[in-house]
């Protein structure tokens, strides 16, 4: 693991800066705090790096970044997924600059040190200069600890970290439910939108279980869909079956369409009319039960699951965040499809993803606008707190410690900040 190099923050003041129901605005823009977050959160805990479906064959790889550190996620010849620091052990150059692809190994462009898919240093030119100086065997690409759950690949710089399944804890059953939207087919990553906004990463972290904003910020999107769908999606405003819940370890959940929580439970309601044509097409090759299962899964599940610190399983897509600086964040919205499933249904899922997500979507740009306004506004009144206290008056705590409140409440944000504080205060 990396050794912390920044000790510039006063940890004793963190409890005052991030109270249980409010946070100091400087949490959104303090550069020293940001460096400490990289060290204490992103370089320590489990961070999502890829989905299994992105690496179907040996040699398949994707490159990504944890905090500022570039890594390669690659499947080796034995089928094992390795997460390697994308950094030659000689002089530090990246050994791969492609977003994704298939490789037999990775060769540094600077002096041709070449590495196998498991990171082993295979060869370097003119080795006589190293005889008696160092051994190739001591200089593999550095590996991170890897954990996989339901095809979700996580990595950590901390070799001694708790097992991934312990970390996911109370979120695991919800991950299992999320994956049911494959309608009997495995889930596959099916393209992604990437965009940046000028704001702190925690503003986005808060947003995933913030259902309070939805009817306001996404009014123009709501007006572009049919009334039937709009009514289903906003039923959480009045439904007593919708809720927001803390799941421990910073994870949280917001249920907005209770009837779509478990896609195996078919309530028998008529399929939405807008899918009539698609359903008829599907009926040519599928049983009526399969058609219902596929069509009921098109919009994904009826909840957003926020996994601290960088992944959300959000209705029909993965949301991945990457902190760029204290005041800039990159967001990826990964579209999902049914691997081997009916092409026409996968195309329908792509069109729905395009409709809301991405820099030209009907939803994401309005989110980004709201988040940038939060960032800009937070500089006014450094002593005026950001409130995350909605619903404290109606929050209940279960015996397992999970807290539940109304779907529009800020229980999820409070859980994220509780975990944030715990990690930031650790020595």
């Amino acid at each position: 693991m990396s050794t912390p190099t920044y000790q510039t923050i006063d940890t004793s003041a963190l409890a005052r800066r991030a109270e249980s129901d409010r946070i100091a605005p400087s949490l959104y823009y303090d550069p020293e705090l940001f460096e400490a977050e990289l060290e204490r959160i992103f370089y320590k805990t489990w961070v999502w790096v890829a989905h299994d479906s992105e690496l179907p064959k040996p040699g398949d790889f994707v490159t990504t970044t944890i905090g500022r550190q570039p890594v390669i996620v690659v499947r080796d010849k034995t089928g094992t997924v390795n997460v390697l620091q994308n950094r030659c052990r000689h002089r530090g150059a990246t050994v791969c600059e492609e977003h994704k692809g298939n490789a037999k190994g990775f060769t540094c462009p600077y002096h041709s040190w070449s590495y196998a898919l498991d990171g082993t240093l295979r060869a370097l030119p003119y080795g006589d200069g190293y005889e008696g100086v160092c051994e190739k065997g001591d200089l593999p690409l550095k590996k991170l600890r890897v954990g996989v759950y339901q095809g979700l690949i996580f990595a950590s710089f901390d070799e001694s970290i708790e097992p991934l399944e312990d970390f996911l804890g109370g979120a695991k059953p919800w991950i299992d439910l999320f994956m049911k939207q494959g309608a009997g087919y495995p889930i596959k990553a099916n393209g992604e939108h990437k965009f940046r906004f000028k704001g702190n990463w925690k503003i986005q972290l808060e947003n995933t279980t913030d259902l309070y904003h939805f009817p306001v910020v996404h009014k123009s999107w709501m007006k572009s869909i049919d009334d039937e769908t709009a009514a289903v999606i906003t039923s959480f405003m009045t439904s007593d079956k919708a809720f927001c819940r803390s799941l421990g370890n910073g994870h949280s959940l917001a249920v907005l369409m209770p009837e779509f929580v478990d896609l195996d439970q078919d309530d028998g309601a008529p399929l939405p009319e807008r899918f009539n044509e698609l359903a008829a097409q599907l009926a040519e090759k599928h049983t009526p039960e399969e058609v219902r299962r596929i069509v009921r899964s098109l919009m994904g599940v009826g909840f957003n699951l926020n996994l601290f610190p960088n992944l959300a399983l959000s209705m029909a897509f993965f949301r991945v965040l990457r902190p760029i600086s204290a005041v800039e964040t990159e967001i990826r919205h990964v579209a999902l499809g049914m691997d081997g499933g009916p092409e026409e249904a996968n195309r329908a899922r792509l069109r729905m993803h395009e409709h809301f997500q991405g820099p030209l979507g009907f939803g994401s740009p309005d989110d980004a606008e709201a988040w940038e306004r939060v960032q800009r506004g937070s500089y006014a009144g450094p002593d005026v707190p950001i409130l995350v206290n909605r619903g404290l008056n109606r929050e209940t705590t279960a015996p397992n410690g999970e807290k539940t409140a109304h779907s529009t409440d800020e229980t999820g944000m409070r859980e994220a900040y509780r975990q944030w504080r715990a990690m930031m205060e650790q020595a």
Binding site: G191, F195, R196, S220, S224, E343, P359, L360
Partner: protein, 166 residues
């Protein structure tokens, strides 16, 4: 003589197509999106792909893949006042140039070009550079846009929100 006549025909076709594309650019910079809708053949698609190589837009994820219905919804959204990002969108100035004519059908011409959009918002100017392909139906008196594909040179990178039309 035939070659000269062909060349003349090509020049006239290209000139008409360029005039059409520049009129479109003017409408988009002025945010006259209703008039822009009228330039389209209802069967046409407005496409902003992500994958630099794909031509199978229906089967891949795009930034935009709009048929007539989605174009109308998009314009409605951008002009309705209900979208914070569209109501406070960047001002744009665009240059479209480097035109080449491809395809030899007199009715449906394909024009490739380059487009540089400078988008200004809150003290920041952002560049959106792209290769464009316009397919323009010349079969009736009035040219009609039957496909526009905008290939951003940085389509696989993270972009900022785009509250206007490319």
């Amino acid at each position: 003589m035939m070659d000269e006549r062909n060349a003349l025909f090509t020049d006239q076709t290209l000139a008409r197509a360029i005039a059409f594309i520049w009129r479109e650019a003017e409408l988009l910079d002025r945010r006259d999106y209703r008039a822009w809708l009228d330039m389209w053949d209802p069967k046409g698609h407005y496409v902003v792909p992500i994958d630099p190589r794909t031509t199978d837009y229906a089967s891949t994820l795009n930034y935009a893949y709009d048929d007539h219905h989605m174009r109308e919804l998009r314009v409605q959204r951008m002009t309705s006042g209900f979208s914070a990002s569209a109501s406070d969108a960047a001002r744009t100035v665009r240059t479209v140039s480097r035109f080449t004519l491809s395809g030899d059908s007199a009715d449906l011409v394909e024009v490739k070009s380059s487009q540089i959009v400078i988008a200004y918002k809150r003290g920041l100017s952002t560049i959106f550079a792209a290769d464009l392909t316009h397919k323009i139906d010349m079969s009736s008196g009035e040219p009609r846009l039957s496909e526009k594909v905008i290939r951003l040179i940085d389509s696989t990178e993270a972009l900022s929100a785009i509250g206007f039309l490319l």
